[in-house]
Symmetry: C3
Subunit: 361 residues, 3 copies
């Protein structure tokens, strides 16, 4: 739960976090205390809210929020002379200012460091004194847990794992032997890092397992959603670069590389040895085939299957448009016989050409 | 495992549960004791079975079941004078009667209440005396666990969570701070309730996290499958209304609302802020885009991507029909050039029109 | 981590495992000690590598690996007189030989048997003396754990579960009451075996749960990926036959049967009562509808929805090909009106026929 901070403190925190990149003007009392964030309609006197889309102006006009972040255009339109109830924070990047402020509020309440008596920590593990190990967590041999790290209840950290400073594992995260997690990462419950990749050689009608001897290397500032799985490399490692954000129930196969600052929405599957560029965005439930490469700055629509390389940045889609089932049934039959339609067109073209020639003669 | 009950007791239990809505006539000994349920072919003398589809009449005719629920038409066709080995329960809604009876059998064996010595319960948590807390479960500060609740081994219940009466968490369920679970719910292993929604603001080529300060509110009589994840709201809550049934590995994004008595099959993904109506049915692996609304009583086929609002109840589908790979390759090429096919048709139409006019002259 | 073995030992291990089916000739010192496996480019003196695809010959020519498995043709082309630095293992099935050798290396380091003091083992459970029970694992009443079984930290094994010899559960696997796991299986973190199938009967606008009284039966040599869920049968069991390999985040519904030696890639969903044949391959994120049957030896492309029976072995696909979003938008509109295109072709054909007839006259 966000803790209380004055608007003046919030503004200073945003300025520090952005190196002063977001100019903002406060109209009203900067000592007003903010305890939480809330949407325009639900906000009360202690809440900070924002207006980013002019469609919601009418909600902003009536909001009970204690403070409101909005653009200058919106401020002039709605509150040309300020507001009697609401402190206005005027900033062109209103949503981004709000995001930084909400972070500052959230960070103002942090847990006490220490190791729960019920946790099972191997004597050969190195735990920084400022780290927190939750109840019934297991930290195995030769692992190293950095400063300010928080390990939630029931987590498992395998052998020779390294977790860098200020990273947080929510309850029930599991990290296999030898994986590395960078600084300031956030891993949600049920995430599994470093399970075996899916590698088998066929031999006389059965499958022979290829031991997966690589690891998973995760950079700094990475977020990994609930139930997401990232497999260790077969030989060589699976790599998640800095600043990547991964939603829930994403599957990333062995030896993939995800470029820095890419965002991957829920239910995406990325097969082994795929390389995703930097700053890509993969929509929910999109599927990336193995061994392919996606160019930097590509955007893939949700529910789209990428079956070959994307060599050029762009916005790509492949979704069967939904329709009423009875229409779909008719269409699906036609779709299965597109080549016949084309053949009929060819025949028509030939006939028309013949007739043309005939009548031209 | 279901416990033993006489057919008379079973019939009384069904009558209570349905307020007498399902009339049923028993032909045979009502004191016959039933210990389990089984399919027609496998059922033995202590088992209850059912016939709901006339296709399976031949199995029913030969069944060894101790009791059989079936319609009057089936009874007349198969056992016009009763059965020497099998008690007949004649009911028009045979499958529904069977379902209620199977529930009554299952409920006749319940565990003893109490808290496992290995569980870690915060002194500030409130646990009803009739609740069961399994081994190595963690119940955190200020949480409240209602009457008859069963918390499985290794579950995590966060701070300020409220779980109402008779709800059951199977081993390894995780509930984040501040979420609420209604009465008589069933949550399966690996389910994660209340992880952060996927919300980031772009800032100079990286992503700034929007703290997710809402919660998840789950109504009464909700079932949630293994590995399913339901994210907390960004601001405001994610809401699952009463009687919703959710299968395994479903992902529900922040600030969604799922209407009462909807059923969601496995592997469905619902992106943030989507609103699903009441009594909807979403087929397996269907995908619902964010911020859209689906009307009450809609049915969505499996593997269908819903990319815009569904304003009217109906049955909707969007699946690329599968075919032999070589046919698909030819078809997929044509599909990518549908506009060229249309252009060729247009040209043909123009040419034919010209010829027509020519020959009319 | 693989342990050290001489090439002579490795060759003997491969010969034992394959009953001498893979002939191999060693060129160089058979006493060279191998400690790990690595790809051609990264391999150092203690590593075993392989060349299976002629495309990578240039990496093989320059490799620093201590030993290299390759075909006779590759050996002749690259190292006709042997290699000064690298022991050559010449085998036609180079990748398969490598796979067996990598297994032998991996198996040369095994954990010590015993039960962690923090594990919670029911007095009514039977644990073989050679089994390993990890910290904070729970083994419930009447379960039986076979010889050499390894149960990872935080696993849950329910009542009356039977796990056969040499099977390994990674941390955080959960097995519900009454399920059976064969010998030499490997289950990854977050897998859930035996949760309730998704079965409800409609009754007056709400759903009545059908108790799921079957179990899950898993054969020998089965691998199950992280986060994969396999539901127990409603009545009767869900069956996974010998040698099946299942990747991460796969969902298998109640009463399915998966034929021996089939391989199922990540994110696949298989709805209830589907029957998959033997030696099938299901590509990532493919979807199998309920109650259908897929013939032995079928191959299904990734992202393909199988909506009716596949009666004949073959290679099947159904994917909407991706394209630039603006092209897709145009195409999708046309796709929704394929029947109109066909109607226009019909009309053209009639008109051309009439003109033909007219000009013939």
């Amino acid at each position: 739960m966000p803790g209380p901070l004055s608007i003046e403190h919030l503004a200073a925190a945003v300025e520090r976090a952005t190196s002063g990149a977001l100019g903002a003007q406060v109209i009203g009392d900067p000592q007003r205390v903010i305890t939480t964030v809330a949407p325009l309609e639900a906000a009360q006197a202690g809440a900070l809210s924002f207006l980013a889309n002019p469609r919601y102006r009418r909600f902003a006009a009536a909001t009970q929020a204690g403070a409101l972040v909005l653009s200058e255009a919106d401020q002039r339109a709605l509150f040309p002379t300020g507001s009697p109830t609401c402190v206005l924070i005027v900033c062109e990047a209103a949503y981004t200012w709000f995001a930084f402020a909400a972070q500052a509020l959230a960070e103002s309440t942090e847990p006490a460091a220490g190791c729960a008596p019920s946790a099972v920590v191997h004597p050969g593990a190195r735990i920084d004194r400022s780290a927190t190990i939750g109840p019934l967590a297991v930290i195995d041999e030769d692992s190293s847990i950095g400063a300010g790290v928080q390990i939630g209840a029931g987590c498992y950290v395998g052998r020779r794992v390294r977790i860098s400073e200020a990273t947080r594992l929510h309850p029930g995260v599991r990290i296999y032997d030898g994986c590395r997690i960078g600084a300031r990462c956030l891993l949600h419950s049920g995430a599994v890092i470093g399970a075996d990749g899916f590698g088998f050689a066929p031999f006389r009608g059965r499958w022979i397992k290829i031991p997966q001897s690589g690891a998973v290397l995760i950079g700094d500032d990475v977020e990994i959603g609930a139930g997401t799985t990232i497999d260790r490399g077969a030989m060589g490692d699976t790599v998640i670069e800095d600043g990547v954000k991964i939603d829930n129930q994403v599957q990333i196969g062995h030896n993939c590389r995800i470029g820095a600052h890419s965002a991957i929405a829920g239910c995406v599957g990325i097969a082994g040895s795929a390389t995703i560029g930097r700053r890509c965005q993969l929509g929910g439930a999109s599927m990336i085939q193995g061994h392919i490469t996606i160019a930097d700055d590509s955007i893939i629509s949700g529910a789209t299957a990428i079956t070959h390389d994307v060599r050029e940045a762009g916005f790509y889609t492949g979704i069967y448009p939904f329709m009423r089932n009875r229409d779909w049934e008719r269409n699906a039959v036609l779709l299965r016989h597109l080549d016949e339609l084309r053949e009929r067109i060819r025949r028509l073209e030939a006939q028309v050409r013949t007739q043309q020639t005939g009548s031209d003669r």
